[in-house]
Subunit: 430 residues, 2 copies
């Protein structure tokens, strides 16, 4: 891995280079996606099934678009029993963590008859998009479905493409069933997103669509945003390891590679104050890469977006971390708890040598759907909050309103809104 001295200039270059990973070439497909979305909006099932025939080469119609109980049973037979046990343990952890994110509706009262409050209501229908084939990571199913389930969403509607014979990847079905999905439909791409956003004869209209997908899926989600809510559109994966040289370089190297293997746009960065340690990590990275099945992807990712940054002090390292605002941050310092208090911007923070990042991808409980590409400055991990909405409650007694009605009317007058003022005064004046 390249080793770079951290300076104002190198930092600027790196931040600029990282932003190159933002998807900017959406334009090319925009018209196609808009046409697909509009067609499904207007023609429902008919358009949906035509696209499924065209893109997935599958003969899907109203009678077989919904995955049956028999298909799910069949899928269970094809999934490794040990893996099923692991999935169940992971679900337990994810559920426990997300339960702690739940919030209650609340009220506050005053003795003159004022009640104010905030009512929490789960969304009624949520759509979860899951990519097809090998890209159908069961962990993705869990991380998108479990928080919705915990939030209390009654109808969790999954769509995922089937193969040419109409079959859905079995691990996807098993993960869906275990995580609490209400129904699975065989539909993929932009047409599936449109079906979820507007509803068709077969597929119910939802309030929010979550889940990853290719560029057509991402564009379709952007297109339907506003008609429904969507999760944020994820960019390429990232890891930043912040180390004072106190951890095992072998572990750090392995962790950097775990993100570099995702795709060529993924970014793996080590920020360290220890030059000798930097060399050791770099050596381990080379050693491991040789033996890994995805070594070509890894090499490209490291060449393009991999860095070992040498900082003069830990404080400098913390500053650059906050500027990069990484999706995954491993804090490998002598006192990671203390360092953590100084981190403003990171999707998820992994503390100490034994909190390897993939532990969070699969198992520990917190969500692996995280803000990427510097958006941890203002976005949060997917969670229960994404599947509820709030309504304010205002209740005033006659006495309470009487006490303040002149103030309210005065404020309305100052904004030249006479009907606003009238609605207050009419209750107390002739």
């Amino acid at each position: 891995m390249r080793i770079v001295k951290l300076t104002e200039e190198s930092k600027k270059d790196i931040l600029k280079n990282m932003l190159k990973r933002s998807p900017d070439n959406y334009g090319t497909y925009e018209a196609t996606v808009k046409e697909i979305v509009e067609n499904v909006h207007q023609n429902g099932d008919k358009a949906l099934f035509e696209y499924t025939h065209k893109f997935d080469k599958a003969d899907i119609n109203a009678s077989n678009v919904k995955v049956t109980d028999e298909e799910i049973e069949e899928a269970y037979k094809e999934v490794d029993a040990e893996l099923l046990e692991v999935i169940r343990k992971a679900i337990k952890n994810i559920k426990e963590y997300h339960e702690l994110q739940k919030r209650n509706s609340w009220i506050t009262t005053k003795e003159n008859g004022i009640m104010l409050g905030q009512k929490i209501t789960p969304l009624k229908y949520v759509g979860v998009y899951v990519p097809g084939g090998k890209a159908a990571y069961p962990s993705t199913v869990l991380m998108n479905v479990v928080p919705a389930h915990v939030a209390g969403v009654e109808n969790i509607i999954m769509t995922t493409p089937c193969d040419a014979t109409g079959k859905v990847y079995p691990t996807t079905l098993v993960a869906a069933k275990e995580a609490g999905v209400t129904a699975v439909y065989k539909a993929g791409g932009a047409q599936a997103i449109a079906a979820l956003a507007f509803g068709t004869e077969s597929i119910p209209k939802v309030d929010k669509i979550v889940g990853p997908g290719n560029i057509f899926v991402a564009l379709a989600k952007r297109t339907v945003y506003g008609h429904v809510s969507i999760d944020s559109i994820a960019g390429p994966s990232e890891i930043l390891v912040l180390s004072d040289g106190s951890a095992d370089p072998k572990y750090i190297a392995a962790d950097l590679l775990s993100q570099a293997e995702h795709d060529e746009l993924a970014s793996a960065i080590l920020v360290t104050t220890d030059a000798e340690f930097a060399n050791k990590v770099s050596e381990w990275v080379d050693k491991f890469t040789e033996k890994l099945s995805r070594k070509e992807i890894i090499q490209k990712s490291l060449d393009n977006f991999g860095y070992i940054l040498l900082a003069d002090t830990l404080e400098e390292g913390i500053d650059v971390t906050n500027e990069i605002a990484p999706e995954h941050l491993e804090i490998m310092t002598k006192n990671p708890y203390d360092t953590m208090t100084k981190i403003r911007n990171a999707g998820a923070m992994f503390l100490g040598e034994y909190s390897s990042e993939p532990l969070g991808d699969y198992f520990a409980g917190p969500n692996h759907v995280l803000p990427t590409n510097g958006t941890a400055r203002f976005f949060s991990p997917l969670g229960v909050d994404d599947f509820i909405k709030k309504s304010s409650i205002i209740s005033y007694s006659r006495d309470a309103l009487k006490d303040v009605y002149k103030d309210v009317a005065k404020f309305a007058d100052s904004e030249y809104l006479t009907a606003h003022a009238n609605s207050i005064r009419v209750r107390f004046e002739d």
Copy 2:
């Protein structure tokens, strides 16, 4: 007001008519706005000041773009002392309500050395856009700034257009100062949004932009979304009153008109089970409208998007309310608390005869920035949550990871991600 019997058909027509209020003619201005945003992004202050000269006819430069303490003092002299007192009372209420929305970071631990958690961090820089002139409602300033302040945002940067002499509307400045704004800059339109999103020599780059504006502002916010976060783009205002005929028809009429006066696209709807009551409300609407200063706007709003809907039962009324998902909902039933429990979708709920909607616009405490146009199905009022973000925390001891490392590696293997599996195994196997 037109009185319509609630049927499946009339409901469908009304829901369709309401959606006509969505802004769909953005396309015309898109290219212009993109050019402005790009120019400010590339050329900073220079471009910003050129646009200010062009659109606001004001001679603004680096030395006078930031509002000075003297200008703020001057503004105080121009604001009615009584109004200032009302503003201060309103701020107190808004602050108290939003304080109750604050959440703590939390952790959960297990005795084998697992710590999981969620860290809450306020955004560091927030931009608040405030329209110029008479449209500069002081209540808007309070409702956008106070929640950011309560959330703990250190830098609340306001931009607002000045007049041709370089002066900012005094009530805006006073409201800004009272609500806790850090700095005010004289900049309006798409160019102000671009300045906040990318920063210029004079104006700091922010993490999130909130606040209302015209179509150029709305489009610019959509354009910079992703580089920064934004609030949702508000549609025309709405009120729905759900009544069993037990409230005073005069009050209801006045409340309907308070929203109809906002603009011609605003919508005022009464849903009631009582036909006689419906007639009385309609009569009062006519009587009041005659005397109101904005009667032309009101008339158009009522003609286009105003309805009195006659429902057979309260349950039917509740159902249509949930389908419309109004921004403001007044519940005027014999037992509004009971009715409230059945409402899934509404931005803010006003309970009983003395909780007139404008009370919430100005004074009660809950936010008046609310989801419009049916988006209360999945969006929430603006609040403290909009000015914080979360980071997950994962900390495992060696023992804790050892207990589960085979499970995690197994899961990674099932997804064909060998570098993920390696990063776990390397800690326990050779």
